[in-house]
Amino acid sequence: MTRDEIAAKVRNVLVDALAVDEEEVTPTASLRNDLGAESIDFLDIVFKLEQAFGFKVAQGELFPEGVQSDPKYVQNGVVTPEGLASLKARLPHIDFSALEQDPQITKVAGIFTVDTLVRFVANKLGVK
């Protein structure tokens, strides 16, 4: 499977899960801020990706979980350097550069983009 084929399938998943138009699903679109994803939608996306690509996604493998409630990772509404390092190690498909610039916890949701999902699937399938 090529990266373009992965991107097309991911687009279909998002159109289905979030009831958005195909044109809205651009690589840089934020799942939450641009496509309106709410918390349950992230689980829906995981289920639909599993179906579309035939792999299993472990809890916390695609999206970080429990970050907000862990004082090691978040202090006074800001992601700590330790938290950021841990997230980067656990979630290599996510581009954390925006969060490094402005590590407020409220910014975490915005870093999940359409391209994040494409990268995640490509990594899982071993596609360059």
Partner: protein, 174 residues
Amino acid sequence: MRWMWIDRVIELVPRQKMVAVKNVSLAEEHLHDHFAADTQRGLIALPVMPASLILEGMAQTAGILVGHAEGFREKVILAKISRAELTADAAPGTTLRYTAEIERMDAVGASTRGAIDLLDHARPDAGFRPIGTIDLMFSHLDQNMAGAQFPEHNFVFGEGFKTLLRTSGIAVPD
């Protein structure tokens, strides 16, 4: 009025499928308002089960199926209506049949597919005919991503649900 929108569970295959029925009755008060006659507009009364309550019936069917899978230990909350399509009205004297199947389930929640069929008792030979599909997502409340805390007591599966299961011949954990 108890908030029960299914009358009986008629089949349960644990972790896979549940089938329940709901008899639509003119004794249900809301049918007299849905839809009442509107003399000004020259419209006669049309009592039919509100689609929102058909949705609730499917949510209860699928929710019990999901809750049963973990022995009703999880607080199973309807989190998303992924798809809902109804093509016919359910009038008094008909029976709705809800068939819910678990599509995917993990520690944090489940997605279900649902089919709705309608039996018109005036035409029993025609049997149940499909009138729609409702696909849902459920969240296990205590496993939510935000880490929010909820009371330990399982307030989702109360006495009403337990009675329904018992009268349907299904064992209920204490």
